[in-house]
């Protein structure tokens, strides 16, 4: 099994990475941090939330300065942008999208004295840490809400790219939906893009036309909630509280708090105790959460969500605990078993209840 082998190598990387590296302490005043963004700060979603986290970090560490480069394509241009940061004095560089992975490695090799943090990838190095959040946990919770609110039992899911991160989110959401409503199904449309408000809106409309009365989404802008508001269907946002895009139809949204991680990292770098680690924080660490519920969400539903949330935060149970079946009805995770982080990070199959295919 090549995949298992790859995961073993990945884990080995993590171990080696965590074992033996610390960067000399740097006074906060002298620290410059650079952020590579995949979209514009004004996307109202993914990049907007990263920037919010960056500002939180700046506030917490007076003297620490940071700069950003927006809309950097996930291609060789990323190398130049990161080099530009380093050449202008950045000692800490955050690359906030998966597609920068190879390029982070390339630049990090040349600058062993600079700390690189790569979001959502799986390659680390002595001076490269990775970070992400267990957004699948609040996605599951938002699925509970969606499953309770649907009347047509068809829920639409506007999904960016068919990669494990997004697949995991769809699965967690569907598990939530089916937990409270076993008859409901989740229809997926792929965008093959992270940020394309036009496509996001079109996909939303197509899902509504095919019978969806709740829309969930994994994309970087607020276009899907806007389209849902126009069509008067419920919507579960993503990244941040998207109720401003859908004031009357927004149910809730799985949201990020990147500031938690950015402050944690800056603190380590300031103290000189930074080590390469692979961070995957969840509801417990409050790196992810749920946006406030919309007015139409009944208290009974809120109660269900609170109970499930408590189960996850306590650590007694997590979303991908068996029995879980795939689309064909085959048991993928046996009853009582919990999926490993490695399997979650490379997830490439849909759970029962998802209607859609993963390009192979």
């Amino acid at each position: 099994m090549r995949k298992n082998w790859a995961i073993a190598v990945f884990m080995a990387f993590l171990l080696v990475g965590t074992a033996a590296w610390a960067i000399a302490p740097v006074p906060a005043k002298e620290i410059k941090a650079g952020f590579v963004y995949v979209g514009p700060v004004g996307d109202g979603g993914w990049t907007y939330m990263h920037d919010k986290g960056r500002l939180d970090m700046e506030k917490a560490f007076p003297g620490l300065t940071s700069s950003i480069v927006e809309s950097v394509p996930e291609g060789p241009d990323a190398v130049r942008v990161m080099e530009t940061f380093v050449r202008n004095g950045s000692k800490l560089v955050f690359a906030t999208s998966f597609g920068y992975m190879d390029f982070v490695q390339e630049v990090a090799k040349k600058h062993p004295d600079v700390v690189f943090m790569h979001c959502s990838g799986y390659k680390s190095a002595p001076n490269v840490g990775t970070y992400f959040g267990r957004i699948y946990q609040p996605r599951y919770l938002s699925g509970l809400v969606a499953g309770k609110m649907t009347k047509s039992n068809v829920i639409g899911y506007v999904a960016a790219n068919p990669i494990p991160e997004v697949i995991r989110g769809i699965n967690a959401f569907t598990l939530g939906v089916r937990k409270v409503n076993p008859k409901a199904k989740v229809k997926v449309i792929w965008l093959f893009s992270w940020f394309d408000p036009g496509k996001e809106k079109e996909a939303t409309k197509a899902l509504i036309d095919s019978g969806a009365d709740v829309i969930a989404m994994h994309a970087d802008s607020g276009a899907a909630p806007q389209a849902a508001e126009e069509a008067k269907v419920w919507v579960v946002g993503y990244n941040n509280d998207m109720s401003k895009y859908a004031p009357t139809r927004h149910l809730t949204a799985p949201v990020w708090d990147w500031g938690k991680l950015y402050k944690y990292t800056a603190d380590k770098v300031v103290k000189g105790t930074w080590k390469s680690e692979s961070i995957w924080w969840g509801l417990k660490e409050k790196m992810v959460g749920l946006a406030p519920f919309g007015k139409s969400v009944p208290d009974s539903v809120k109660k269900i969500v609170a109970a499930e949330q408590a189960k996850i935060v306590s650590g007694k149970w997590d979303v991908f605990t068996g029995p879980i079946r795939d689309q064909a009805g085959k048991v993928k995770i046996e009853a009582g078993k919990r999926m490993s982080d490695g399997d979650m990070l490379s997830m490439s199959w849909f759970v029962q209840g998802v209607e859609g295919t993963i390009p192979k």
């Binding site: 990945f10 514009p40 480069v69 394509p73 996930e74 130049r80 530009t84 202008n88 950045s90 597609g99």
Partner: protein, 356 residues
């Protein structure tokens, strides 16, 4: 009431204007940009210095500018060739992507552990892939007068979707944990780079092709036919030039060069493809070709300048903390003024005397 001046067509353009117009245009743009920067609360002088320093101020900046200029030059030459005969190949982006895809296919299915052999194979495969992709649109135009602007543009989307199909599907790297990217190229399939920079042998190829195109346009029969068809297709037909053959050939060569740009980009820089690996070079190439007034050697210089603008733009964001939007406005101002300056090459403004 009449305006105090009138616009008059120039019969010929004095030599000094060829230099004065671009210089004046850039100066105008920088002045207008200075006003913008001033209102953004940034010292224009500091910003321009940062931009210049980032792109051209040291060996690294210069090397990165060249890295950007290489695919722009090749793609600019590609579209320039078709524009010369007034055939509008808007599909360099798709042809470039097809070239990159062909290079990946060669590495995947016909790998030989020898750098020269690999270079040759990838070169031929990319040229064929790009050439046939554009040639198909050329055929439709030559045979049935199908509008090539529409076909080449639409074929861009097909090419990109086709590439995504392979990246997400059969060619996905099995060790990428399900993430969309092809397997990394072995060392023999990568292009040689200059020292510690990212400048690769594509530079030599780009300059060589630019000179070759210059010779082609100026001193060969085919170049002459291209220009005549561009000036007046009917006259060319009347003179016995084969329009159909020339459209096909021009589109094929145009696509082939764009395909080579794609292969150079993938083998020279990342050594694998992932979604969105082309930063829109095929589209920027259209601006390059027009700024260079379809002159092959000019294309090299314009690509270099555009590369410098893009590289300098990063420094503006990092050092001056300007948002991308204002950097793009600055870049847009320069392009706008340079293109607008072309007006003065063909027209002049004459003050209207009292007696008229």
């Amino acid at each position: 009431m009449s305006a105090p001046f009138r616009v008059e067509r120039r019969l010929d353009c004095p030599a000094w204007l060829n230099w004065a117009i671009p210089v004046g245009a850039v100066a105008t743009a920088l002045l207008a940009g200075a006003v913008l920067l001033f209102f953004l609360g940034v010292s224009p002088l500091a910003a321009y210095t940062a931009m210049f320093r980032g792109a051209l101020g040291d060996a690294w900046g210069l090397s990165e500018t060249i890295v950007k200029a290489i695919p722009l030059t090749l793609a600019g030459l590609a579209v320039g060739l078709s524009f010369t005969m007034v055939v509008w190949n808007i599909g360099a982006e798709g042809q470039l992507v097809m070239g990159a895809l062909a290079a990946v296919a060669v590495v995947r299915y016909a790998f030989v552990d020898s750098a020269p052999v690999m270079f040759f194979l990838m070169f031929v495969a990319a040229a064929l892939a790009g050439g046939l992709w554009a040639g198909f649109a050329g055929f439709l135009k030559a045979r049935w007068s199908v509008n090539e602007i529409i076909t080449t543009l639409m074929m861009n989307y097909i090419a990109i979707l086709l590439t995504e199909y392979f990246i997400y599907g059969p060619w996905r790297d099995p060790s990428s944990l399900g993430f969309p990217m092809t397997a990394p190229f072995p060392a023999a399939a990568r292009l040689a780079v200059l020292g510690g920079t990212r400048v690769h042998v594509g530079l030599i190829l780009a300059i060589f092709l630019a000179l070759l195109f210059r010779v082609l346009y100026r001193w060969t029969r085919w170049g002459f036919e291209l220009r005549v068809i561009g000036n007046n297709a009917n006259a060319a037909r009347y003179a016995g030039m084969d329009y159909m053959k020339n459209v096909l050939l021009a589109m094929f060569v145009s696509g082939a060069v764009a395909g080579i740009a794609g292969m150079i980009e993938v083998a020279g820089l990342q050594g694998r493809i992932q979604p969105g690996f082309s930063a829109g070079y095929g589209y920027t190439a259209i601006i390059v070709a027009w700024l260079a007034r379809l002159n092959p050697v000019g294309t090299v210089f314009v690509s270099f300048l555009l590369g410098a603008l893009l590289v300098g733009g990063d420094t503006l964001q990092v050092v001056m903390r300007l948002p991308l939007a204002s950097v793009q406005v600055l870049q847009g101002l320069i392009l706008f003024c340079v293109l607008g300056g072309e007006f003065f090459r063909n027209y002049r403004i004459v003050p209207v005397g009292k007696g008229e």
